[in-house]
Structure formats: C-alpha cells, structure tokens
C-alpha cells in the first residue's frame, strides 16, 4: 500500500506494529518446527528430564533408528509409487478431457464441464467408493488404492481455463499441415500449457502424498502402507519415545519443506486457483 506520503514518525509506528504482529505469529510457526528439531537431537533420558531445554548432544542416532525402525524406505517407496502412478494417469487423461471441452470439439462441452464442477457440491463418495473397491476385489490392493486418486475435477477446470488462452489458429495451422488430433494435443498443446500442468500436478500430488484417511480405510497390509500411515503406526508404537518420533517426523518434513520452497509458485497458484473455482 502506498502510505509513504505521511510523516516519518507515523509510518515507523505502523511498521513497528506490523512487524510485531508478524513476528509474534511467526513464532507460532517456527516454534513447533524448532521443538521438533531440538527434540530429534536429544537422548530419551535428557528429554524426560527437561523436554524444552536446548539439546546438549547431537544424538543423530535417532534418525538412523527412525529410518530403520519406522520402515521408512519401504513406506517412502510406496508413497512415491502411489503418487507418481496416480498423478501420471490422471494428468494424461485430464488433458484429453480438458482440451476438447475448452475448444468445444465435442458436443455439449459446456454440459460436460458442468458435470465435473458438480462433484464439488455433491455428498462425499466415501461409502459407495469403498463398496466399489471391495466388490472389485481391490480392497487392500495397491491398484485399488491408486484408482482412488486418478480423478480430480478442480484440475480439469484449471486446465480448461488455461487452454482457452492458447490461440485457436494453432489448431487450424496444424491441421492444414496434416497433423493428427492426438499428435497435436500430445506434442504441441502439452508443452504450451506446461505452467497449468505443473500447477495441477503439484496440487494433485500433494493431496495424494499427504492422504491419511484412504490408507487407513483401504490398506491393511503393512507392506502397502504409504509414509503417512507408517508415521501414525510408528507413533502408536513409539509414542512415548519423542526423540525418535521427532526424528521420524523430521525425516519426512525436511524433503517436503525443500520441495515446497522450490515449487512454491505452482503450489500457491494451484491452491488459490482451485479455491476460486471451488
């Protein structure tokens, strides 16, 4: 905001007040994170003695212990597999849904789009979805689990809106050159709408990665657990051993934070775009 025209004194007070509020609030966000780091470096006895005191040791063993005891490599691999598989299937099918809708290359394209928007307002699909997976024989099965995540209506809406900004003349020119429909979408449209694809992919992946309800419902075999469920189970067993538990949580938090800082632009645009449409 442009409030620079006023006297120095007044502006400074505004600034001081703003910073004071922002920093106080920031403590609420840094605090839990700091507590996590601090605890993860402690030994159990020193945590029991004084939970909040600054750690005097750098007990990195907590991390190696968490890594092996929480079965991290296995769960991480599962999470990566589920997220990658479901997101890939979703984004490929989504582009071929969004493109003809945006271009009105199919009849009733408006109605088809509405069909996707409707889902945002309908009852939760939880129970019938379970019945479906159960009766397909895909309960406690990675394929059934992945199937749950190959749909995302908000992503379709974002893609449609973005494709509308790609000039239509491109279609005509490509067609004149004898380029087929599939090849056109795949090798010309796809690269052009990369920003929207990135947004949708990032948004969709985060949703799958952080999912906790679906794995508790659908996966009973430990070998299939994604990392979220793995952490909850680990908490159940090691709940009182906070140094190791904190190390486990941190092992998952750090890569997420780094990814967040790298992909922040797409994450924010995905969440706000999705929000505005929803």
């Amino acid at each position: 905001m442009t409030s620079q025209s006023k006297g120095f004194r007044k502006i400074n007070w505004g600034k001081v007040g703003s910073y004071a509020i922002l920093i106080l609030l920031a403590l609420l966000y840094v605090g839990p994170l700091f507590m996590l780091v601090n605890t993860s470096l402690k030994t159990m006895p020193s945590f029991m003695k004084d939970a909040t005191g600054l750690t005097t040791s750098l007990h990195f063993e907590n991390f190696s212990e968490a890594w092996t005891k929480a079965n991290f490599p296995k769960y991480l691999l599962n999470s990566i597999l589920y997220t990658a598989a479901a997101t890939t299937i979703y984004i490929i099918t989504a582009v071929f849904v969004a493109f003809p809708i945006a271009r009105k290359y199919i009849k009733f394209s408006g109605a088809v789009l509405t069909l996707f928007v409707i889902a945002l307002f309908l009852p939760p699909a939880l129970i019938p979805q379970f019945q479906l997976i159960l009766n397909l024989g895909l309960y406690n099965n990675p394929i059934g689990y992945i199937m749950l995540f190959i749909v995302n209506p908000i992503g379709i809406v974002i893609l449609v809106n973005y494709i509308k900004t790609v000039p239509k003349e491109l279609d005509e020119a490509a067609a004149l050159d004898g380029c087929g429909y599939f090849r056109f979408v795949w090798s010309i449209v796809l690269p052009l709408i990369r920003p929207a694809i990135a947004t949708v992919v990032v948004m969709h992946s985060i949703g799958i990665w952080n999912e906790i309800i679906a794995p508790t419902i659908y996966l009973t075999n430990k070998d299939y657990y994604p990392i979220t469920r793995g952490l909850i189970v680990f908490q159940g067993v090691y709940g009182s051993n906070w140094p190791t538990l904190a190390a486990a949580v941190l092992l998952l938090t750090l890569p997420m934070l780094i990814l967040f800082l790298v992909l922040q632009r797409y994450i924010v645009s995905g969440l706000t775009a999705g929000a505005v449409k929803g």
């Binding site: 909040t52 849904v97 129970i127 005509e172 429909y181 922040q264 505005v276 929803g278």
Partner: protein, 308 residues
C-alpha cells in the same frame, strides 16, 4: 465451433480420447457420490458379498431420534457447527489481517508469507505430530508457558472441551495460509490509483480500508468465506491424528468414518454400518448445502449492492 482434425471416422478421435477420463470420473467420483443417497436407505455393511436390504428411512430415524446414540449424534452435529463457526470466524479475520500486513511495502514479507503457508504443504499427519509434541503435557513448551502463569493442562488428553478447543486452534494454524494467499491475490488486483485517490481526498487508513479495500475485495471475501465454511464443516482429519475418536470431541465427519469403518480402523469387522454412515453423510451434506447456499445467497446480494 469448427473441428479441424480430419473427417469421417477420425472425427470421433476427441470423443475416444476423452472417454477414459470421463469414465474414471463417473466410476470413482460422480457415481459413488450420488450412490451415497441410495446406500443411506439400506443396511449395507463393509463385508463383501453380504446381502444388502432396503430399510427405507430407518437409518435416518435411528440417527436422529433413537436412544443414547442419537443424543451423541446430535451433540456431534452441534459440535460441527461450533467448530465451523469458530474456525471460519477466526481464520477469515486472521487471514485478512495478515494479508493486509504482508501486502505492505515492508522488507521480509515474503519470508512471513512462506512461513504461514508452510503447514498447508506438510499435511495433517505432520501438522498433528508437530503439535502433539509442542503440547506434550509433561514439560513441553506449551506446558512450560502455562506453568509460568501458574496453570497446568493436559491439552489434547485433557477435558473434551479443552482438546476440542486445541483442535480448533491447530486447524486455524494449519489453514490460515490458504485464506491469506487468496486475500493477497485479491489485494493485488486493486489498482494503486484507488488508494492514491482516497489518500488525496484525505482519508485515513481505516477509511481507506472501509471504502476502498473492503468493497473491492468482495470476490476474495466471498471465496474465502464459502471455502472456510464448507471446509470446516467437512474437516475432521486433525481430530484423527490429534485426539482419536473420543467422546465429547467428535464431529460429524469423524462420526461417519467411525461408524462406516470402525473406530480405530485396521481390520474389517462385521460392525461396519455403512448404510447408517451413508445416512449420516447425507445429513452432513444437507447441512453443508443449506448453510453454503444461504451464505452464497447473502453474499451475492451483498455483491450486487456493492458492485452494482
């Protein structure tokens, strides 16, 4: 709209390629979503191959009127509304204030913005475990702070109302960033000439906010309000991670999950009352629908009044 790619048979290519996405959507999202209403009139269980009988409105009758359980159900419904009101009110106001603060020309606002948004990305499990540690009752940071004031608390393991209040707090902590980001996006669409004009007319900060920012922010106000209301009516994942299924804290969303899939989850048992849970889903859906539509109606009238 003309179609450029081929004629005859190849004219059907777009339909053919659209089909997988559309089919998945029907099978996994739209179909099951609508089938919830159908299941709500049955005695379906979570057992494969078990017969499903049509029982009319029995599930609804039982949910709302029968015995001890219905008292708990209605308490959960009431709690859902309290949760929604508290979360919406605080998250909306806080998100707006913070957006206004970080949208100033100040150094370091980007850092604050990123920090406040961080929990959104970490997800409920990490959010929950982080706060479980911070609220560790035997000498954790929050307990230490309270003891300085001569107080003590069991936090998430304490009285139900206390645990419930903490979940509200953490829910807001976790999602305030999204509200803030939407407000920031809205603030950035307001042309700076509007502020300058108001300043030249001698308006003070409050008047500028009241007469320029607030009315021009209407689209993001509407979005955030609806999003917060609908989101908080349906939110319950943090309860799962933070307190588990505990009497006196459960909201409708959790109740649906617990009756449909067993309270602690894990292995399938015969007590999965999925027809009953579907009826509860429909009740929650109607609640969301009625509240959402009313708010939408009020917001639209307000928007028409403000923006003409």
């Amino acid at each position: 709209m003309s179609y450029h790619f081929g004629r005859g048979k190849s004219k059907w290519t777009p339909y053919l390629l659209l089909l997988p996405g559309l089919l998945f959507y029907f099978l996994i999202a739209l179909g099951p979503s609508m089938a919830t209403a159908v299941y709500s009139f049955t005695d379906a269980t979570g057992i494969k191959g078990a017969p499903i009988r049509w029982i009319g409105l029995d599930n609804y009758r039982e949910f709302l009127f029968m015995g001890r359980a219905s008292v708990d159900n209605l308490a959960a419904l009431q709690r859902t509304l309290i949760f929604c009101a508290a979360v919406t009110l605080i998250q909306f106001s806080l998100g707006l204030i913070v957006a206004l603060l970080v949208n100033q020309k100040l150094k370091g606002t980007n850092v604050f913005r990123t920090l406040y948004f961080m929990p959104v990305i970490l997800g409920v499990v990490i959010q929950g475990l982080m706060w479980s540690l911070f609220l560790y009752p035997l000498g954790g940071p929050a307990a230490k702070l309270l003891s300085l004031l001569g107080m003590r608390s069991e936090f998430l393991g304490g009285q139900p109302t206390e645990a419930f209040a903490w979940v509200i707090f953490i829910q807001i902590w976790a999602n305030m960033g999204t509200t803030m980001m939407i407000f920031i996006a809205g603030l950035q669409t307001i042309p700076s000439e509007m502020y300058e004009a108001a300043r030249i007319d001698g308006a003070n900060s409050w008047q500028v906010f009241r007469n320029v920012t607030w009315p021009l922010l209407t689209p993001s106000v509407n979005t955030n309000l609806l999003l917060n209301i609908i989101g908080s009516l349906q939110a319950w994942q943090l309860f799962l991670v933070l307190v588990g299924y505990r009497n006196g804290t459960q909201v409708l969303g959790y109740l649906i999950y617990a009756t449909g899939f067993g309270q602690t989850s894990g292995s399938v048992t015969s007590s999965f009352r999925q027809g009953y849970a579907a009826a509860a889903s429909i009740i929650l859906f109607l609640l969301v629908l009625v509240i959402g539509m009313s708010v939408q109606y009020i917001l639209q009238r307000r928007e028409a009044r403000i923006l003409g």
